[in-house]
Amino acid sequence: MSVSPAPSLGKRLQDWLPRIVLAPSLALVLVFVYGFIVWTAVLSMSTSRLLPVYRWAGFDAYERLFNQPNWYVALKNLAIFGSIYIVVCIAIGLFLAILLDQKIRIEGVLRPIYLYPMALSFVVTGTAWKWFLNPGMGFEHAVRVITGWDTFRFDWITRPDMAIYTVAIAGIWQASGFVMAMFLAGLRGIDSEMLKAATVDGASTFTIYRRIVIPLLRPAFLSAVIVLAHMAIKSYDLVIALTGGGPGNATELPSTFMYSYTFTRSQMAVGSASAMVMLMGIAAIMVPYLYSELKEKNR
């Protein structure tokens, strides 16, 4: 019977090296992501106002959060903004992708034009659209000057009932090109023989898209919805730069709500509670998605 010699120190170090290399990153993520989330959760159950205090208050802050009319404004705005943003981005994205897939000669010129807004900061986008939508000097004014239509009005950005739609317009401007690219990649991935087969089978172009191509784009739809929903919930910079949350609180979103309650209104516990609600919202979308993605990849 042979006795295996104890592995040398060098050998053991080699074996542990991969884990040692990964350890700092993992530690950072554990502390700064998961640890901080727990910390925020603790704060949301405390009586913190201007500064963190660790006196247990149970779900008091959540109760106060859901008694804030402002929070409902933020949720309602998120629902309006989010749904318009997602639906219109997907509609424009799919439409443009299908058009661009018709053997367009100038595709190489058009594609980068559709996509460049994605490279811009939301602050830049907000600044540009704030100027463009300025009723006195922007688009409204330009239309009046150029067409002579003196009663033309486009003052949504100053109207509390319409301002949230300007946020959606700017957001759509920024992200729809990206959604187009996602769909275009999906379209290009479809076996061209399949389209030929459908043509020979007698399907019209419209039928080919309706019955074969669009059903095949399901993964692209799913990705687009997830990405856009995630971006909508996190939207902060765009609103700040475009409307500053106003007029009044007309364009308040959960993200701006959290920031102002935490840092300017000294309601840290309520701010933390709103952050936790946002986190749960995102987790509800992302966890199942990431889980299925990872499972698929590992199969």
């Binding site: 076996d191 023989e193 399949m194 030929k196 087969a197 459908a198 043509t199 020979v200 089978d201 007698g202 399907a203 039928t207 019955r211 074969i212 059903p215 095949l216 399901r218």
Partner: protein
Amino acid sequence: MAFIEIDSLERTIGGNKILKGIDIELEKGGFLVLVGPSGCGKSTLLNAIAGLQQPTAGDIRIDGTSVVNLHPSKRDIAMVFQSYALYPNMTVGENIAFPLEMAGTPKENRTKEVGAVAKTLQIEHLLDRKPAQLSGGQRQRVAMARALVRKPRLFLFDEPLSNLDAKLRVEVRAEIKRLHQNTHATIIYVTHDQIEAMTLATKIVVMKDGIIQQAGTPSEIYNTPANMFVADFMGSPAMNMLPGTVTADGRGVALDAGAFTLPLATPLTPGRKVTLGLRAEAIGAGQSGFGVTLDLPVEIVEPTGSDLYLWLRLGKALVSARFPATVEQRPGAIQPVWLDLNRAVIFDTESRERIVGAAQEPALAAT
């Protein structure tokens, strides 16, 4: 008038001629195989027949009427693709029914016809599955079912077996053959595999660089290739090619490979550069007709189970010879072989075209 007539068909893409004047005729019920190396234009030709790519000149007639201006779906054809092109979002049954649905067939008729076709191809148990759940061979059958269900006047196959493994390929090949025999369908079939071409076709068209090299029955293509390209491309192992010069009396060829002179069945102009083509089965044991016996050293022994191929040294050249598997031989030995020059095909070395083919002049065998 033939059933399918293709008339000086051309296709140019960006100044690049893919098809350079293709003429083909095919009888009703014929099985035409388009064969050639990749890039020879065979798939382009098939797509042109299907209407998926437009020819720049020429005409395609089916049953006497031109179809070049017709939409693919109006040509009454069905096509089986290399990737099978099954619609992954539909079940097998829906896939097969799709062409009928597009043609406006009522639902109950559709179900009936799909059932009938599925029965023929033994895929009834798969009708509710999605294509992703099928094996390669099953997908292939579904693709064929989808083509068959339309009962078109012409079937097009675009390399339908190239995604299958070797064993399955032989099985499905036999099945396609049986299908053709049973239904008497007219088929045009594209492949790069010369064995598929030989086994399936009633008529083979060998293409290269957008030009038809030869059109004929499998035996014509095999035994009397029109030029050295066809001789080399069709058959395995490839035809032995022995370049040489016609002797002063015009009755023999002095081989470039070495000190051999082979007699010619038909006299040729003295001094002409020719290449003598000889299939492996024309070199072997036996001793009949017109030929010579040579004692050649064995270099490589290749048993295939059914046959034994010997690679023999002929001067500077190496020739393959086919023997029954019962022959025992080892490298280094001397093997007496009979060269059946009756079956030799003679090409002009310069133009690479055939000059004399044994099959065309059987009378000379007696000389």
